[in-house]
Amino acid sequence: MMSTRALLWAIAIVLLLALPPAAEALGQPFYIDLVRRMMIFAIAAVSLNLILGYGGMASFGHAAYLGIGGYAVGILAFYGVESGWLHWAVAIGGSALIALAIGAVSIRTSGLYFIMITLAFTQMLYYLGISLEEFGGDDGMRLKSRSQFPLVDLGDAVEFYYLVLALLLAAIYLTHRIVNSRFGMVLRAAKSNEARSLAIGFSPYAYRLVAFTIAGAMGGLAGALLANHTNYITPDFMHWTRSGEIMFMVILGGMGTTAGPLVGTFALLFVEDLLSAWAPIRFVRDHWQFFLGPLLVLSVIFFKRGLAGLFSGRND
């Protein structure tokens, strides 16, 4: 059993490792960009999976951290700070702090209230982004410079690709370790039965808040990567449909599974790209959301346990 799963992981990693040389050999460097974008979103989805899939906290505002991470990089670069370490420290630290604040209020609620309140807080940050006239306001702005690191050049498509791949694998591994630690057990216990976990002496609030903060920090890293990827920041990083998409990635792939967010992100972004760029009919390309919407509805109705559930057969 274990070996099948390990084999699937090995195949996935080898494919991701082999992609840049293969794309360059085929003269299609565009794929490097495409998959790098998918992997950045996969990091965001992995972080959301920690709180949504394992913690039962349905945050409809995860795009907030993409925005905070992105703006951290953009604003520091705007003022001439180029150190990548500093960019990322501020992106991750800032996201963690804001996640701590949002979480402190939101986690007092649950269920539907939680969905609505996280959405509303993110909308608040979105409007804040729009009102920052100095940093481009509604339109956003180009990065003055990308994050500078000693060994890796983010301007180089392939080097940046491998850095993102390494960070994605690190994020997956870290989440896996967190979920299977004592901390993660309490988090999952509180999700499956809050009353019982209270009865055996664990108050879930603090555990949830820490998980929420960690997820925010990882989301901030994804945001810093996204800003470097697009070389541009805009309030649209925080648009509520972005939050919906990230949530969809997690659920489409399979909540509370290690591979789920990865599978879901690749599947959703692949379908989006298929419809918006590669569809043979112009009408479909122009109005791809008209077709994506019903596909999403159908996938919710029919893939109850997500795509990862189809492979592993594990439905817990």
């Binding site: 539907l112 509805v297 919710v300």
Partner: protein, 307 residues
């Protein structure tokens, strides 16, 4: 002069609040009775505005356009309920959120296909375009007063229907025990479809009244939807009374914040700082209000009492 301005802005706040209430009432009815989260409620608001403009163009009459807009949103709501929502009633809220998220993408793009992405202008008939002098020195648009009047009228009607009619009794019964209502021989599926259509028509009404005031464009529904969430969280989920009071509070706070925060800040900090922070703070005000309410009363100001 500043009293006149305050008075006008207060009325504007009530007018926004009334529209938020129409949206919140439909959303909270569907939520309370069917236990269903409809993210696409904003799409029905948008469709109400577009259908009315289209209806008014075809018939040449504003009132016929309004009737067409209401009827078309009602029918759309019922079709959506039958086609996509029924398989989702027994599913988690999260699945409902995602499925209706898909519906939003669909409807926004549908509207863009049918009417284009540019914003449309909703014309008003002559008798609604005038102004009246309510207090000396203040002339106020008749149309906005009409919006307030219609909204309050609907609030009263809604209260009457829910509390004093057989349909309202069924609605309340369905909210507290769906199986028992079905066992007593009521067609609960039909009831759900009717309630959903009813909620859709309320959203359509809010949308068609919003048309001449705000811009009519794809995605217009989501801007108000998120404000409606704030209303519902403040008022308490499933409570129509809470929706009304929450909506008026949010409408007034938002409007007054946008009008007065910048000048008021300007007297405390430097004018340039106020210039920069004022608009940002004003658009964040209702979310801060919501956070404050939740910190003090996590179930909202008027939690529903199961009926």
């Amino acid at each position: 002069m500043s009293f006149v301005l305050l008075f006008e802005q207060l009325l504007n706040g009530v007018q926004l609040g009334v529209m938020l209430f129409l949206m919140a009432a439909g959303l909270t009815l569907v939520l309370g009775i069917m236990n269903f989260v409809n993210l696409a409620h904003g799409s029905l608001y948008m469709l109400g505005a577009y259908f009315t403009i289209a209806g008014a163009q075809w018939t040449g009459s504003y009132l016929l356009g309004v009737l067409f807009g209401l009827a078309a949103t009602l029918v759309t709501g019922m079709v959506v309920e039958v086609v996509t929502l029924r398989p989702l009633y027994h599913r988690e809220h999260l699945d409902q959120v995602l499925a209706t998220f898909g519906l939003i993408l669909f409807f926004n793009e549908l509207v863009a296909i049918l009417w284009g992405r540019a914003s449309l202008y909703a014309a008003l008939p002559q008798w609604l375009t005038g102004h009246v002098e309510l207090i000396p020195g203040s002339i106020y648009p008749v149309y906005r007063l009409t919006v307030i009047g219609v909204g309050l009228l609907v609030a009263v009607l809604l209260w009457y229907v829910v509390v004093h009619t057989r349909l309202g009794m069924l609605i309340r019964a369905g909210a507290s025990n769906r199986v028992m209502v079905a066992a007593l021989g009521i067609n609960i599926r039909l009831l759900y479809t009717v309630v959903f259509g009813f909620g859709a028509a309320l959203a359509g009404l809010a949308g068609l009244m919003a048309g001449p005031i705000y811009s009519v464009q794809p995605g217009m529904g989501e801007l108000i939807l998120i404000q409606v969430f704030v209303v519902i969280v403040i008022g308490g989920i499933g409570s129509i009374r809470g929706a009304l009071i929450g909506a008026i509070i949010v409408g007034i706070v938002d409007t007054l914040g946008r009008a007065f925060l910048k000048p008021v800040l300007g007297t405390v900090v430097s004018p340039t700082a106020a210039e920069a922070a004022g608009p940002a703070l004003a658009s964040m005000l209702i979310y801060l209000l919501m956070a404050a309410v939740l910190a003090l009363r996590p179930a909202g100001l008027f939690p529903a009492r199961g009926g």
